[in-house]
Symmetry: C2
Subunit: 537 residues, 2 copies
Amino acid sequence: MERWQSLADAPVYSHLLELASRPVDLTAPGTLTQARIEQYCCSAAGFALLYATERINDETLAALQQLADQCQLIEQFRQMRRGAIMNRIHGYPSEERQVLHTACRDLFAGPPAEPLASKQAELELARLKIFLEDLENGNLVTGQGLFFDTMIHIGIGGSDLGPRSVYEALRAYGRAGRRVYFISNVDPDDAAAVLRQVNLATTLVNVVSKSGSTLETLTNETLIRKAFELEGLDSARHFIAVTGEGSPMDNPVNYLRSFYMFDYIGGRYSATSMVGAVMLGFGLGFDHLLEFLAGASMMDQAAEEPDLQQNIPLLLAMLGIWNHNFLGFSTVAVLPYSQALHRFAAHLQQCDMESNGKSVSRYGEQLTIKTGPILWGEPGTNGQHAFYQLLHQGTEIVPVEFIGFRHNQYQQDLPIAGSTSQQKLVANLLAQSLALAAGQKNANPNKHFPGNRPNLILMADRLTPRVMGALLALYEAKIVFQGFCWNINSFDQEGVQLGKELAGRVLGLMRGERGKGCVEYSPENALLKMAGLEKTG
Amino acid sequence: MERWQSLADAPVYSHLLELASRPVDLTAPGTLTQARIEQYCCSAAGFALLYATERINDETLAALQQLADQCQLIEQFRQMRRGAIMNRIHGYPSEERQVLHTACRDLFAGPPAEPLASKQAELELARLKIFLEDLENGNLVTGQGLFFDTMIHIGIGGSDLGPRSVYEALRAYGRAGRRVYFISNVDPDDAAAVLRQVNLATTLVNVVSKSGSTLETLTNETLIRKAFELEGLDSARHFIAVTGEGSPMDNPVNYLRSFYMFDYIGGRYSATSMVGAVMLGFGLGFDHLLEFLAGASMMDQAAEEPDLQQNIPLLLAMLGIWNHNFLGFSTVAVLPYSQALHRFAAHLQQCDMESNGKSVSRYGEQLTIKTGPILWGEPGTNGQHAFYQLLHQGTEIVPVEFIGFRHNQYQQDLPIAGSTSQQKLVANLLAQSLALAAGQKNANPNKHFPGNRPNLILMADRLTPRVMGALLALYEAKIVFQGFCWNINSFDQEGVQLGKELAGRVLGLMRGERGKGCVEYSPENALLKMAGLEKTG
C-alpha cells in the first residue's frame, strides 16, 4: 500500500519544535516593519492573505514548506482531485471512496481533472437549468396555476450548513420575489416557526438527504407534508428531492424531480453539488449559481501551486498547524467582517471539525499528535463588543483568521463623521489585527495588552457569488491539506455513530420497550427518570 | 481594603490538584450506576441539573464546596446583590461601580436586596407599561395615524446579543401582528438587509446605547434616519431610545421616549433592564416581559443557597472550574437541544468571555492561573451532524453543557415511527451525554470511543418566558461566581480599548490624514496598502 508521511514522522518535525521554542516576538520594537508586512502577503484567486501578524519568519516558512513537501500535500491534493480513493482506513473496513467534491465545479478551466464525475455534475446542472426555466416560464406551476415563489430547504448537517451559509452570504444577490427558508433540527419548533411564515400554496419543498434515510430530515418532511394535507394541497406537486440515485427518496411518485448527489462527495463538502445548487439556483438564479461554482473552481486550481508562499489554502493550512501543533493553541477563531457571513463559521465548524476531529491515522494507528482544533467565530465588528476582551487579555490564546472585503454588497452606504460604514468596518478589522499582534504596554496592569496573539487577514474585493465560491473552496482545501498532514481520513465520520445507536435505545425506553420484557437497570433508564422524561409524550 | 481569597490561594487548591491527577474514570464498568445518576442531580428554580457524567465523586464535590466556602462565593454574591462596589481594581484607577443587574428583577419576592436600584427599575417598568398601552390603545400612532407593528432594535454587544437571543428564544410567545428586527454591525449591509424587509411607515426604531456614543449604533441610527427622510417620514416621530440619563441620546427632540439604564448595570448583564425590556415588551407583550423578569429573580434567589449540591449556578461554576483549571480543558461548549436557543451561545460568549477573559486580579496582580474559557456552541441535534465528531473522537476534549426541555413551545408535533419529534430531540440529548461519558470499545480503532468526556445536562419543563429568565440569570450567576473564584473583576472590559484607538488611527489614514503633515511609516499604513484599502471610499 502507498504510505504517506505524516507530521510526526516528517524529518522537519523536530526542527519545527525547536523553532516553536523561540517564535518571533511581534511586540519587539522594529518587528512589524513595512518590509515584513509587504513580504508576508500572498495573492491568488481574488484573495489576498496578509500574515505578517503570525509568529513566523523566513526560517519558519522554509520549515513549513519542507513539511508540506515531505508530507506531499500538493501531490495528495492532485491525486484526490483526479479520483484517488482517499476516504479509507488501510487495514480496516472503511468507506473506500473517492473524494470528488472538486469535480462538481471543475467545468470552467479546460479538461476536468476527473472527467467522469465532472460529466455527472454537468448533467445534473443541465437538468437543474431546465427545471429552473420551467419554474420561470410557467411550465411548472402549482395545482392552482400559481408560480412558486418560496422554497423550504429541508436538510441537516452538510445538507444544511454549507448551503444555508452560502445563501445567507449572498442574499444581496437574491432573485426578486423569491424567498428561501430552512428547516434542519428535529426540534418540532424549528418547522413550526417556518410554517408560520410561508404560504404553502406557492411553496416548493426541497428535501435533501444523500442516504434518503436521515432521521431528522424524514421527520421534518413528514411534518411538512402533513401541513400541506391540512391545507388541502397535494404535497406530491410541491416536493422535490436531492438524494443518491436509487435511494428511498429517488421516487417520482413523491417528488416532482429528484436531483442526484454521488457517494464520492461527502456531506460537509457538498455545497457546490446539487445539495446546494438546487436551492441556490432557485434563490439566486442560475447565473449566480454558475458564478459561485466558477469561483470555487478557480480556488481549486490555485490550491495546486507547490510554492507555499504562493498558495493561499496551503498557507492557511500550514500556519494553522504551526499555531496548533507547535505553539499549542487549542482553537481557531474565524472572524468575518461581513454580516452576510454570519453563518460561515457554523459551516466551517462542521467542515473542519467533522473532517479533522480524529484520533486514528489512515493506517489505523493511535495518533500521538494533536489533530483538528476547535473552530468558532462570529462576525466583526459585533464580536469586538462581545468576546474580544478574552482575545486581547485572556489567559487562553486564540489564533484568529480575519476575513474582510474592500466594498460592501448593497449599494447603500453613507459618509458619517468623515467615513463610510464600510470604511469603519475594514478600519476596525486592520486595527484588531495589529492590536492583537503588537499589544501595548501600560503602567496600569489592567490596561496592559500583552500582544503576540497570532492572526491573519483574508481580503477580497467584494462578497460576490464568485468570491463566495472561492472562499468556500479555500477552506475546503485548507481542511484537506491539514488532514493529509496529520495523516488522518478527513472524509469519514465514525464518531457520530454511537450517539445514534444510543438515541435509538433511549427512544425505545421512552416508548416503554424494555429488554426481554422486564425492567432492568441501565444508565439510560436512570437518566430518563432524573430528567423527568419518563412520562413525556 | 477587604481581601477576598482566590482559587490559587485557597487552602484546598493543592488538594484539588491532587484529585485532578486521578479523576473518576467514567468508562470503568459499574461507574455510571443508577445510584450515581440519581445522586448527582440538583433541582432549583424550575431546572434540574444532572451531572453524574462529570469526572467527579463525593471527594471532588467536598473539595469544590470547600473552595466555594474559602473564596466566600455566596457571601460575595450576596454583597453584590446588596450594592457593594464590585466593579473595581484595587490600587488602580477603575470604574468603581456597584453591580446591580439583579436589582432590575428583584421585584417579586419581598423586600428587594438593594431597594434604591429596584425602585429605579420599577419606575422605568411603569413608564414602559404606559408607553406600551399608548401603542395598544392608539394614543401613540404614526404621523398617518397608523398603529406601529414593527420595531427595529439598534444596538451592539450587550445592547444586542442578550436582548436578541431572548427574543429569538421566545418568538413562539410573540404578540400577533408585531415583528422585531435587529441591526448591530457597522457593516452597512446589515442595515440594508433589514431595510429591505420592513415598512418604515409603521416602524418604531429603538436605539440602545448606554453612553449614547457607541460608534456602530450611532452610525446605524443615522443610516436609518436617512431612510425615513428618503420616504418623506419624520424620524423624530418613529424613534425611541434606551440610554443613560443625561447622555447625548437623552433628548426629547429626537426621540418619542427615552428609557433609562444605569451605570451599575454592565452591558452584558443588561438584558433584564430597559435594554432588553423595551423591545421584549413590544414584541412579546408586557405580561410575558414580567414573567421573564420573575424567572430571573427566582434564579437569583436560588443562587444564594450555600450548599453547593443544592445551588445550580454555583454547581455549574464549580464544575466549570474543575474542568478548566484542574482537568485543563480550554473551552466549554453550550449545546441547547432547542432551536429557539440558537443565539443563546452568542450571548453567553459575550457575557462569559468579556467578563472573565482577564489576566489581572482585582488587586492588579498578574494571575498565575487560567481564567475564563473559550465558550462556543450550536443547537442539537444540528450539532450532532456537524462538530460532534470532534467531541467524540478528537484530540481536543470539550466539556459540554447540554440544555433541554421536556416539552416544545409550539403545540405542533406528530408521532412519526412511534415517537414525537420532541421525544426524538430529548432522546438524542440523553444519548449524547452518555456516549460522551461512557464511550465504547471497538476492535476497529476508527470506531473506538474513548469516553471520559465530561458533560452535564440542564433540564426544564418548557422554554417559557419564565424559564428563559431563569436560564439567563443562571448563567449570569455562574459567570459571576467563577469571576469571584478567580479573583478578577468580571465587570469591566479594558481589553476592548486598544482596538478602538487603533481603528481611529486607521480611519484617519484612510481619510488621508498623516501625522504632522508628512507621510511616515506605520504598520497601519503598510497594512492598508497591502489590503488594497488605500483607495476605498
